[in-house]
């Protein structure tokens, strides 16, 4: 993982507050922030607005490579190669889109985190934005 950038790390207890903070950050033009959640959450995912994961292409291509001219074995290999390619796709895209930022162990338990990498001159407005959205804690992470 590349060196951790400095920025603002905010911790939220409420999902709607975190989603609101994400929307406000996007409105302000921030794009490279990271949201940490203990479970996948539709509201956060919608607010972040990612496109569908390209992992599905890995599944399709992996599955197609399993088609050999014996029906039963082709069926099994389609599933085997499809599943294996899905895992490779998951690993590859998770690695490719990895985000180096400050982290708190509570984000794997019961808190939602947002890390916004930003230069020192932008700290104040970002901290204010996150606090205003309902962050429980906001801190500078070097």
């Amino acid at each position: 993982m590349s060196a951790q950038p400095s920025g603002i790390l905010a911790s939220f207890r409420f999902v709607d507050a975190a989603a609101d903070a994400v929307r406000r950050l996007k409105d302000e033009g921030y794009r490279d922030f990271t949201v940490y959640t203990p479970v996948p959450n539709v509201e956060i995912a919608r607010a972040v607005g990612h496109r569908a994961s390209p992992v599905r292409l890995w599944t399709l291509i992996g599955g197609l490579t399993g088609c050999i001219p014996y029906v039963v074995i082709a069926f099994e290999l389609t599933i085997l190669f499809g599943a294996s390619a899905t895992i490779l796709g998951l690993l590859y895209h998770s690695w490719k889109t990895r985000q180096a930022g400050a982290y708190d162990n509570r984000f794997a338990d019961d808190h939602i985190g947002i890390f916004v990498p930003c230069p020192p001159e932008r700290r104040e407005p970002v901290q204010a934005l996150l606090r205003d959205a309902g962050a429980e804690e906001v801190q500078f992470a070097a």
Binding site: V15, V55, L80
Partner: protein, 449 residues
């Protein structure tokens, strides 16, 4: 006026309580745990001893007597492959149906699947005798230009079972990653190191969840047809032959239903002591057992229907070989095995029509043991009894398993439970992430009201 409070409002845990309670199951093992582990390792050692004896003196120490050249080992292979099936049913199929109750029990079922396939995979190798030539089962380039027969159901089995093992293992590992990350911060010593490595750098970022949720969905979608295909393929080991009692088109659905039936029974067998020993009664509730028992009842009735259809078709076909084969099952030398199978799989599960039985955990535990017993005998009846009475009366035979076979069968239970106990003490048997998922994240607007 009294305030009415719903039961789920009282018992619904918070996210932090879920992490804490499930992490507590990985604490220092109790004496009961060590006693159980000691017993299963001892039983496993008995099986290993018997296997080494067989390796030393050859397959003659097994009870094979022509024409019965498939006995306890193939019976046990089919039994364990069957046990493996409900894991994927609960983890993948119920996931696609968005069935919320599966979240607390699916990890146990998934782990059971992986260990059951590991156990099943041993038996074809033990059965062929020369363990060191097991790799001959796979097609690989070799100087002797030997090539496997792609039209043989036995080779289909190799592909089906190895695919099933790989996909089930991947599915289990992928599901474990966010949970291990949740445990990483509280673990200490060697466990901390283990979790740091096996959590694969998981932080629950928006990008990670984006890829993870898609990958998990596709794995579930791939595992669903796989679970239906694997036991169909196992059934074709028999149905593609012309042995009376085997050559039937009903075999694939009959085997799949039986597999899920026995697998759900094994899930109940594992969950009952697990929830008690690990004190997770709050997460694995009577409702879970009732749902599992409904699955047991449904699949048990499909299995009982298949038994009836087999006898009906044998009579209706007018084929004397089929008729004598089924007559022999019920009233021949192995009548006791057939009636054990019918009693355990067809009759006893009818008690599940009573809600009281479905919600009685001790009753379900006893019933699950009977179903496991009955399903082993079902495979014994199909394999051994059919082979013992084929076409020519002068070629009829009688097979009696030897102590070596019984010991290896017992050893397989030791091997299976040993892996399960080791898993249960080192990794969460209840999914932290998925149990949290069914509880909505707290909302600011709700907190205000």
């Amino acid at each position: 006026m009294a305030t009415i409070v719903r039961q789920d409002q009282i018992t619904r845990p918070t996210y932090h309580e879920i992490t804490r309670d499930i992490a507590a199951t990985l604490g220092s093992p109790s004496r009961t745990y060590y006693v159980l582990l000691g017993i299963v390792v001892a039983v496993f050692a008995v099986g290993v001893g018997a296997l080494l004896y067989q390796v030393r003196f050859g397959l003659g120490v097994a009870g094979y007597t022509p024409p019965v050249m498939w006995g306890v080992y193939i019976t046990t292979f089919v039994f364990w492959v069957g046990i493996a099936h409900s894991g994927t049913l609960i983890s993948a199929i119920l996931y696609l149906f968005r069935s919320a109750w599966r979240t607390a029990v699916y990890r146990t079922a998934e782990a059971m699947t992986v260990f059951a396939v590991m156990t099943a995979g041993l038996f074809p190798v033990i059965h062929v005798g020369r363990l060191w030539y097991a790799y001959w089962l796979f097609p690989y380039p070799n100087q002797r230009q030997l090539w496997v027969n792609f039209k043989s159901p036995l080779l289909w089995d190799v592909f089906a079972v190895s695919t099933y093992f790989t996909v089930s293992t991947l599915f289990l590992i992928v599901g474990l990653v966010p949970d291990i990350a949740a445990l990483r911060s509280t673990a200490t010593g060697w466990r901390k190191k283990l979790y740091e490595i096996t959590s694969l750098g998981w932080r629950g970022t928006d990008q990670q969840w984006r890829h993870y949720t898609r990958a998990y969905l596709y794995l579930a979608a791939l595992a669903t047809p796989l679970v239906l295909s694997v036991h169909s393929v196992v059934s074709w080991d028999f149905a593609m032959s012309i042995v009376p009692g085997w050559h039937a088109t009903i075999f694939a659905p009959y085997f799949v239903a039986g597999a899920i039936y026995s697998g759900v029974a094994m899930v109940v067998t594992l969950l009952v002591p697990l929830r008690k020993v690990f004190k997770v009664e709050r997460y694995i509730t009577v409702e879970h057992f009732e749902n599992l028992s409904k699955l047991l009842l449904l699949t048990g009735m499909i299995v009982a229907y298949a038994y009836a259809v087999e006898y009906f078709i044998a009579w209706y076909s007018g084929n004397p070989f089929e008729q004598q084969s089924f007559w022999n099952r019920a009233f021949g030398d192995y009548w006791w095995a057939t009636w054990t199978m019918i009693l355990c799989n067809g009759a006893l599960p009818l008690f599940l029509f009573f809600r009281k039985v479905r919600r009685s955990i001790p009753a379900l535990f006893v019933l699950s043991l009977f179903v496991n017993l009955g399903m082993w005998f079902e495979r014994f009846v199909i394999i051994v009894v059919s082979l013992s009475h084929e076409y020519e009366p002068y070629a009829f035979g009688h097979y009696t398993p030897t102590w070596v076979e019984w010991s290896i069968l017992a050893g397989s239970f030791g091997w299976f439970f040993m892996w399960f106990l080791l898993f249960a003490k080192n990794f969460p048997t209840v999914s932290i992430t998925e149990v949290k998922e069914i509880i909505p994240l707290p909302r600011k607007e709700r907190a205000r009201t």
